[in-house]
Amino acid sequence: ACNNSEKTDTGGTDAEAQSGEGTINIGYTGPLSGSAAFYGERTLNGVQMAAEEINNAGGVEVNGKKYKFNVVSLDDKYLPNEAGANAKRLMQENKTPIIFTPHSGGVAAMQVFNQQEKFIIGAYTSEPKVTEGGNKLTVRIPPRYDGYLEPFTNYTMEKFGKKIAFLPTASQYGKDWAEKLQPHWEKAGGEVVYNSSIDFAKDTDFFTIITNALKEKPDVLFIGGPSEPTAKVAKQARELGFKGGFIVMDQAKFDEMKKVTGSYDVLNGSIGVMPLVDSDSPGIPEFVKNYRAKYNEDPGSEAGLNYIAMYVFAEAIKAAGSVDDPEKIMEHMQDGLDNLPEDKHVYVIPKIDQNGGFEGELIVAAIEDGKVVPIKAD
């Protein structure tokens, strides 16, 4: 009954499909409506752009046969049960060897049956449990963020002082970050004077909580979450007279924050991840140019990382010599990373750990005198 389905055409036309070429369906389930839609769309953009580029370059050749990618995307409204249903549907109707999803609930719901039904989950979530739970067909796309702790702590503590107030987003990611940062900060001799979080989905105004945080006279604020509200938090902290530095969690991007604050001046003294567009990784210029042309905005890491992941999967498929055996593809993920052409290195990801987590290199940047300056990690 569901034949009139939902193919997002990504290059491969029917005509090509008939002329002895194969199609590999790639699944995607994520929030495409509701309050998290912007996030879902950006992750999907990365996957789609990569698939399209590969198709335009002739597709992938596996065992002498040409294949093109077709991304099939479904909306799950950020709900695990919908993600589960979508995955079932994708398997049933499209036989997708890989399904991307950008939330841990969706990953968890799919992990119930992905090994039985044989598909790889492209998990865009920083939750370590998704790969540490023993599921053999899950790839965790975002790199671990532990590496940020050191440079962030060193930089701000040196420049501003030892007292920090925590005000990250109330999401799981924000809380994980805070949990990791706290011992680190304290070990370095600092003190956490205020520890709370802001729920951007429920708070209308951040003045109240910032007032409370500033009451403790912190030297540094740890903030983060989606870029725009994070920028608001920074701006309002400045309005309330805060003069110290910011540690900006990696979910927020300086370049996107700037759109809200107007200039980098407000953010002086912040340390965070290098905005993708300002990074000097080899794949950046090309990627940024194409992305802007296609989506009319600057790409962020959601797009960038999923873009790479799609490429890596393509390379892994080639290396595995199989388009429909996820286990085999999984075995060749490291080959996929190794074979990734230099000019696609939007991020540098040299390794995948034995559980399926990408281990990428981190690039850190600070804002000084209204400019983004790279900071050497390690």
Binding site: C2, N4, S5, E6, T8, L32, S33, G34, A37, E41, S73, L74, D75, Y78, L79, P80, N81, G84, A85, N86, K88, R89, M91, Q92, E93, S104, G105, A108, A109, V112, F113, E117, E127, K129, G133, A170, S171, Q172, K175
Partner: protein
């Protein structure tokens, strides 16, 4: 019903089975809502909250307390019902919109507690690794098909229970309360006791539905307690026909199916789904099941009219069904 039993063999489609199983789970919750809103006239918007309490009770008892599945299952239902009892005791003092919004707030509190109390519930991270239903003797519930039948059997029991309640003196009592609570009270009906009964039963079904959900999806996050879920359930009920027995089934299947069908619209499906919902409510105010029952009743009425009434009156036995159908 027969269709539901043979359905898996007809389709052989995992995805359909998955969606149907989920629909059945929702239906159980919708029946709970129907019993309360449809028959006693009290619209509870805390339903998702109780759904989540059922799900989390099961999840926590199995994952954190490592309890045997079925023990946890029974306990989860008891916890939900007891909570429902306590909430009902206070909430039922309010009426109409106040009750609706009071329960909306209760639901929201339940959601916030689940969301914020992360030392217990894992907060936004959610609970991972909830086990599937444990074997009952030789029957195992690991495969989607066996889960489908498990849920179906439970659903049928729920329907039977609701059917019997509605067609009994208790059901009439509920309907009397719906029609005029003051009057019910003056003819000697303890409205509080009856409302509370219906409310607890309704939360029991919500908890049952939640516990089944948790063991089927095997992951739960605070979002399942969100008011959006209540509205989903309410939508199923209203589209199907509130205060009718088949309404929950019709509505759930229809809306879930429409919503799945509209997937091809991608980001814009709510652009279509919203108006469809509104139009259905405007043009089928009694729901699909209610409208069909209405047509049938009117046809029957035309045919038989008063002649039959007189006859019915002179008979000693008057079938119970005809009286409960209205509304």
């Amino acid at each position: 019903m027969l269709f539901a039993i043979v359905f898996p063999f007809v389709t052989q489609n995992d995805y359909f089975i998955h969606v149907m199983t989920l629909s059945f789970i929702w239906m159980i919750g919708v029946y709970g809502l129907n019993l309360l809103a449809g028959y006693t006239g009290y619209l509870s918007l805390a339903h998702a909250g109780f759904f989540a309490v059922g799900a989390y009770s099961l999840g926590l008892l199995t994952v954190k307390a490592q309890m045997n599945f079925w023990t946890a299952f029974v306990l989860a239902l008891m916890i939900t019902s007891i909570l429902g009892f306590l909430v009902g005791l206070i909430a039922l003092r309010t009426k109409e919109h106040f009750f609706a919004i009071y329960t909306l707030c209760v639901g929201y509190i339940l959601y916030l507690v689940i969301d914020k109390w992360d030392s217990l519930t894992e907060g936004v991270r959610g609970l991972i690794g909830i086990p599937a239903p444990a074997n009952i003797g030789p029957i195992s519930f690991e495969t989607p098909l066996s889960q489908y039948y498990l849920v179906l059997v439970i659903l049928l029991v729920v329907i039977l229970i609701v059917y019997r309640i509605v067609h009994s003196l208790t059901g009439r009592t509920y309907i009397a309360i719906r029609n005029s609570e003051d009057l019910a009270q003056t003819i000697g009906i303890s409205t509080m006791k009856n409302k509370l009964e219906a409310f607890v039963l309704s939360t029991f079904f919500a908890g049952l539905s939640g516990a089944l959900y948790a063991s089927f999806i095997r992951f739960i996050g605070p979002d399942i307690g969100n008011i959006v879920i209540t509205f989903d359930l309410l939508t199923y009920l209203l589209i199907g026909g509130i205060g009718t027995l088949s309404g929950p089934i019709v509505g759930t299947v229809l809306v879930v199916w429409i919503s799945q069908q509209l997937q091809f619209l991608q980001d814009y499906r709510m652009l279509i789904f919203g108006p469809i919902l509104t139009l259905l409510v405007i043009f089928y105010p009694r729901g699909i099941a209610g409208s069909i029952a209405g047509w049938n009743a009117r046809r029957a009425e035309k045919k038989l009219a008063q002649a039959q009434l007189d006859e019915r009156f002179s008979q000693r036995a008057i079938t119970a069904e005809n009286q409960v159908k209205e509304g």
